[in-house]
């Protein structure tokens, strides 16, 4: 059983998939814990659920997938980069910026990834 203690406010388990809801300001602490476990970053999912945005950081640890859920408001969503802990996140965070318009602070390479540079307006995966 994987526990994050006080860092997570809510946890859910389904088969080998574990989900932890983490407050935005506690994300760094949670990342340190999962890094200490020896997890590999699988990918980052951003989702627009109508009322709010969600970011899920999926980490794989043998048969388990640990997902850290961060909930963001729809007005000017911002999140700090995790590339300091997991350099593999660089492309996933660029995708997040492109498709959902979430601002990733201190990203080392904040260019467009998928959409054309000159594109303006609504981000494709926003509702």
């Amino acid at each position: 059983m994987i526990e994050l203690g006080k860092i997570s406010v809510e946890s859910k388990e389904r088969g080998n998939r574990v989900y932890f809801t983490v407050p935005k300001e506690m994300l760094t602490d949670a990342l340190e814990v999962v890094k200490g476990m020896g997890c590999r970053l699988s990918t980052i999912t951003g989702a627009d659920l109508g009322s709010h945005l969600e970011i899920l950081y999926h980490f794989s640890l043998k048969e388990k997938i640990i997902s850290l859920r961060v909930i963001l408001g729809k007005e000017c969503p911002e999140i700090h980069t995790i590339t300091g802990h997991f350099p593999a996140a660089i492309l996933y965070e660029r995708e997040l910026m492109d498709l959902l318009g979430i601002k990733v602070i201190d990203h080392p390479d904040p260019r467009r990834l998928i959409l054309p540079e000159e594109m303006e307006g609504k981000h494709p995966l926003r509702r």
């Binding site: 389904r14 699988s42 990918t43 048969e63 350099p87 593999a88 467009r112 054309p116």
Partner: protein
């Protein structure tokens, strides 16, 4: 052009359309000093088709067909990961026979993909005879896939909860015969790849990737295994029939026993993939022998929830995340193809590579950009053209 200490640093654009990366559009900006690459930058997004967006507007059972068309080479892997994500969300247990059938087709697909890659690798170093041999042998497995599923690509075997088609008893004998032929063909390929000095000279130490870099950059699949990272989703996350079958994960260590190679270089990439073909043949033979009788699928009913499914595609871990509010459509469907995870490894891999080795270094991770990008824009007289305009132009042209 800037001149520094007698050297000229040149920027060479490779792609988006380039003969060496024939399959998929990706742009590399490589700075070279003399013959050696000193800086690497890449740009993707030339074939983004908005599959995730499309998927959120399809019904759950239609998505299986949509994700199948993400990639033509690993068209079994994406639906495999997708159906597993939905099954994880709904808590469905798949019948044993369906698990075995999924495994058989998955492994046959791996064989055809690895043979295709072996051919491309041979062609990139200018060995066209070997390219012809590899692709000739690939026909055996394509015929077998046609026999079992009815299609050479896009097999359409998956449905949520099981499989759509059965494997007939009468085809099992033919399948065994073809597998025996494949094993022979693979032996021959391995012999050529190992004995030919041209391949050793073009591949040894080229585009190497250390274990530390592979872990740091999150490499997956044969690209990670050839850098001595022991991970394979089929073993690490037991699913389908893999836990019931006796097979090994091939890593750099096994390749090192056979021939001289460095972590992640072209030779170790070739060997890991060719040895994986042997393992896949082993898996299919066992699965055909133990194929249990029983139902083909479990009925299901959509509920609210979220689920993650993953599968070891020929290129590495395919990752699907689905989220449902109980309706006919997912509210989020996230797809992560293996090449997106492997692309950052190009930076250490291409650094220090000679200009002539760029094609094989690019091909060495077995990139599949159609998986990775999944929107394109068309400009006419400097204006972006909308979809309706394109259709109208098409109609006018072909009337």
């Amino acid at each position: 052009m800037r001149i520094e200490k007698g050297y000229s640093r040149l920027r060479i654009p490779v792609g988006p359309v380039h003969p060496a990366i024939a399959e998929s559009p990706v742009k590399f900006m490589l700075d070279v000093e003399g013959e050696v690459v000193v800086r690497v930058d890449f740009e993707i997004g030339y074939s983004h088709r908005g599959i995730e967006y499309l998927s959120q507007r399809r019904r759950w059972d239609q998505i299986t067909y949509l994700v199948e068309r993400i990639c033509g080479i690993c068209s079994h892997s994406h639906p495999f990961a997708y159906v597993q994500a939905v099954e994880n969300m709904l808590g469905i247990e798949v019948p044993d026979r369906a698990k075995y059938i999924r495994t058989i087709i998955g492994e046959l697909e791996r064989i055809q993909s690895h043979l295709l890659w072996a051919g491309i690798a041979a062609e990139e170093i200018g060995y066209e005879t070997l390219f012809m041999y590899a692709w000739r042998d690939r026909e055996i497995v394509n015929e077998l896939l046609e026999l079992l599923t009815g299609n050479r690509v896009n097999y359409a075997m998956h449905r949520i909860g099981g499989v759509r088609r059965n494997i007939r008893e009468s085809s099992i004998g033919v399948a065994r015969e073809k597998l025996r032929k494949l094993a022979e063909a693979n032996e021959k390929l391995k012999r050529i790849f190992l004995k030919d000095t041209r391949i050793a000279e073009r591949g040894l130490g080229v585009a190497a990737l250390s274990r530390e870099d592979a872990i740091k950059l999150g490499a997956v699949g044969p690209n990670a295994r050839s850098s001595n990272v022991d991970e394979d989703i089929r073993r690490d996350d037991p699913h389908a029939a893999y836990p019931y079958i006796d097979w090994d994960v091939i890593t750099y260590k096994r390749a090192r026993e056979i021939a001289e190679c460095n972590e992640g270089d072209v030779i170790s990439q070739v060997l890991v993939r060719l040895l994986e073909i042997d393992e896949s043949i082993k898996i299919v033979e066992q699965a055909l022998k133990d194929l249990p009788k029983g139902l083909m699928f479990t009925p299901w009913r959509m509920e609210e929830g979220e689920g993650i499914g993953r599968y070891e595609a020929p290129r590495g871990e395919v990752f699907h995340y689905v989220r449902s509010d109980g309706s006919d459509h997912p509210i989020r469907h996230k797809i992560r193809a293996p090449t997106l995870a492997n692309i950052p490894t190009y930076i250490p891999k291409l650094m220090g590579v000679q200009v002539a080795d760029i094609p094989i270094a690019i091909a060495s991770i077995d990139p599949c950009l159609c998986c990775t990008d999944r929107m394109c824009t068309v400009t006419l007289n400097g204006k972006m053209v909308e979809w309706d305009k394109i259709r109208e132009l098409c109609r006018r042209k072909y009337r």
